[in-house]
Point group: C2
Amino acid sequence: MGAVFQLEHEVLYYEADTTGKLALPMMLNLAILASTKQSLALGVGPDFNHAQGLGWVVLQYDVDVTRRPAVGETITVQTEAVKYNPFFAKRTFTLVDAQGAELIAIDSTFAMIDMNARRMARLPKEQMGVYQAERVKQIERMTDPTPLVNVDAQQAYKVRYLDIDSNQHVNNSKYFDWLFDVLSPEFVQTHEPLNIKIKFENEVRLGEIVHSQVQMTGQRTLHRVMNDDTVAAEAEVVWRD
Amino acid sequence: MGAVFQLEHEVLYYEADTTGKLALPMMLNLAILASTKQSLALGVGPDFNHAQGLGWVVLQYDVDVTRRPAVGETITVQTEAVKYNPFFAKRTFTLVDAQGAELIAIDSTFAMIDMNARRMARLPKEQMGVYQAERVKQIERMTDPTPLVNVDAQQAYKVRYLDIDSNQHVNNSKYFDWLFDVLSPEFVQTHEPLNIKIKFENEVRLGEIVHSQVQMTGQRTLHRVMNDDTVAAEAEVVWRD
């Protein structure tokens, strides 16, 4: 078990969608906010890693949504770096409401990038010790999103300047913008996500044009974000009415 | 002088751009966050007005930027409804840093909309009394942005589902996304805004395609957001290197 870090956050009006509830992309922003704050508190924040030419990247998220909090609610984001092997780390996030009830649970796999060589780097043992993460041989693979086989709808999105955050990468939450924008407003206003799986495969860059594709299969939507012929990300969402 | 309301806010990583400083659109989000919180504290929040078929809209902002705060800084947003006449209200916002130094000063003109008739409504006297706003005959017009005469660059943007906030309108800050995205990344990364004037002229709706146009004139950029042949907004930005 890793060291648990907690962060309180009030859901602000500009973090909500038209339903008055936390917008889906914000779930990922709050997760990364908590893990970054933990890293800073432990003295191993982004600047510490950047100074060594290293940076964390998220490879995959699996998000279970029990209830999305509403504007004005104060929630707590709990996170811990659970375990790691030489190349992968598993981190969990739990968003709970003021009564301690679980709102959203996120499982994730992180890796480290050598920012100059643009390839995966070994996770620094000392740093993982700081998080009290357990060292293991094997990190079990997360369940991949079911691949899409037919494209029922797609839209093009240009990567905008403000899609890049202060970590100098396209903010992960922007992929959720692209995934959900291709669905009809009627669909997203009348359906709540139960589970979202997303796997990031290839980075996209400022000015590039991505295509967000979706296959509608009843209460399940299968997604792919394409950058020309390259798959940038795949996702699968299970919905309830 | 109106009643002054104050709100503390920590600048979060997902509220910053690649410079690590508060993203320009966030300035408007923080302003509206503060005025909405004041309204809620005074018992005249969005739900109170919506129940009477009324809603506030911003007609114009004039933003002076001394310094944009960095990620991790805790700032205070101060706001007051200064004065009003039967149709217009003047509200000011001041963002100050932890030492009390002014970061950003915003002047604004608000009006009220009859949401069913889609036309301007008279400002309810009792409500303006709650804000301790001074009743005046005349609200001086704010300086309009200089109109653009040549289009040096333009880009099309589709209004996305997540551009609509919990107030059911395109979030004002999205106009800033469109204004600044049409400038080159090199320009926005090497220039800081000194003053931004924006005038909202016609509402845009979900799914519509707007064109963000810019004229570059040295340290001044002139902007227009077009929705087909209709001007949705005009803006003027003065920059420093």
